[in-house]
Subunit: 363 residues, 2 copies
Amino acid sequence: MSWQLELEHLPDLARGAALLGSGGGGDPYVGRLMVERALRQGARVTVWDLEEVPDEALVVPTAMMGAPTVMVEKIPAGGEGVHALRALERHLGREATATMPIECGGINSTMPLVVAARTGKPVVDADGMGRAFPELQMETFHVFGVPGSPMAIANEHGDVTLVTAHDNWAMEWLARGITVRMGGASLIAEYAMEGATVKRVSIPGTLSLGIRLGRAIREARERHRDPIEGLAEALRPSGYGPPRVLFDGKVEDVLRRTTEGFVRGSARIRPFTSGPPLAISFQNEHLIAEVEGEVLAVVPDLICILEAESGEPITTEGLRYGQRVRVIAITPPEIMRTRAALEVFGPRAFGLAHDYGAVAEVA
Amino acid sequence: MSWQLELEHLPDLARGAALLGSGGGGDPYVGRLMVERALRQGARVTVWDLEEVPDEALVVPTAMMGAPTVMVEKIPAGGEGVHALRALERHLGREATATMPIECGGINSTMPLVVAARTGKPVVDADGMGRAFPELQMETFHVFGVPGSPMAIANEHGDVTLVTAHDNWAMEWLARGITVRMGGASLIAEYAMEGATVKRVSIPGTLSLGIRLGRAIREARERHRDPIEGLAEALRPSGYGPPRVLFDGKVEDVLRRTTEGFVRGSARIRPFTSGPPLAISFQNEHLIAEVEGEVLAVVPDLICILEAESGEPITTEGLRYGQRVRVIAITPPEIMRTRAALEVFGPRAFGLAHDYGAVAEVA
């Protein structure tokens, strides 16, 4: 069933997408403001459920690419995503029927909405990451063999590059270099697919999941209740596991550097009571949470840091000394935990010496 | 008048193009072998004089891009230049009538010949640098306001990127980043122009100039004569000044690093007799020659290092401790010494604190 995106969805979506960002993906606040402005100016955004996408439709996902620390400071003028989409349409010689997110976590939950508002194209309620991931091949689209290129990359100066790569790793490598040269952030259109393919290779319902998660956190706060129960309820229909509380404590140390187009670093969280601290490592997103070498959660499980009082998700660029936080982990849907999927975005794809299965069983 | 490129032209062309490379541009030897193979396999290469290019023709220059140190080691398979040309043709929706060099110095004197041999397209006897320069906007094409993009960049894996930039500096910046990600060297097609434009913005006769210069050096060696006189004769019809001998001596020190897609460094040459050494700085090409702070020659003058015995040009990547050399300078044609041209590839465009005029008058 198709539905209209409304202004009142946006604060919840931004909050929920920040949670799904697993610390990365860029704070969705900027994208939220861009969509808000468009809706206030009279634009309409129609959201299509995945199953209603016509088989012969051409769906072209749009997104922002770059290090989250840069994405939230180098704010798009608004037209870059449309510029990328139009360039790819011209290259393909075919107009896109709809756009959709490549990732439902972080700023990219909202970027396709900006494109949808400006072009009048519907946006599909689905994505290819089920969270946020740092690299372009880390997509269920890729897991199922969809070529990501030709893709288009645009910046605020009107520069556009089209990349046609022999595989999706080469596409990521070249696009990352271009994005770095564009100042660390760009708008992209990639993984152009027929509707029949989209239905086979996507994670359904993740845009509305973001809205539900954000609403659950807000309502828990309004009612002075723990958000965990509401989050569990919001996650269930989308096939995610319930949130597991890993740790409560105070941020003691954050090491963060923006390098080669990524934010890399780690954080240490000291428990409120005595005991060893929790260590979290990240590449844009949180990758692994450990206490004294014991792995509590590892990618592709979502590792999320919430403000202890408000339940608001904290992204890595917002992480500060002294914050009181709760760390939770969420197991993603089955489509993201197959052997093929784990090869693309499991622990070893990030250079970690752990197998997801072993850790997930422990958890 | 059009003419056929013959096998016996190639050793002279490679030698002459190495001279025109002013130390950079990449050793033309690799390109020479590629053209030789094509000619031996029966390919024909027709060369068009600049004035006979039809006004309505589409001329698409082709070249190799990258640091010379990498270009001479990362040898193209042969099809990359054609791949870049075809990608740009598809993007423009129009077939190229002919190709041509963007630079007549170094390896790019021969790369368009490989494309011509493989596609059957003629090659225009002209270029946009009159020598070699390190960056894509350092073209008389650019001086006269021709946009270099859309351009295509191809590598040996079949990856292609198309860059459309808001100006030629942005094109260089993005293309350089892509070339670095492609391993430091790529094949490009850029500055697509109508024939009428090519005739207005190019330096005529520089392909045949390369052949004449190479022949002059060879014949001088065969006759045990100084090549300077023959070089002067070869240069005259193309509007270049006669070679000026700057220095004779022995290479004492070479500092060379490949960084950000360029080779940067310096060389020191000790005179055979007593006296202070000559210092040469380079960014791919030799930029300035000085003795104790006194500038003997500066870009866009060609500063060339020849083997003392044989007169063979030495490129920066071939420069070695102990070589006995003669350093000469050549003033390029008028079209390369206008105020507008010097803004693009004069000393200050390379960050040197000198004005070309002052130095040239001294020289």
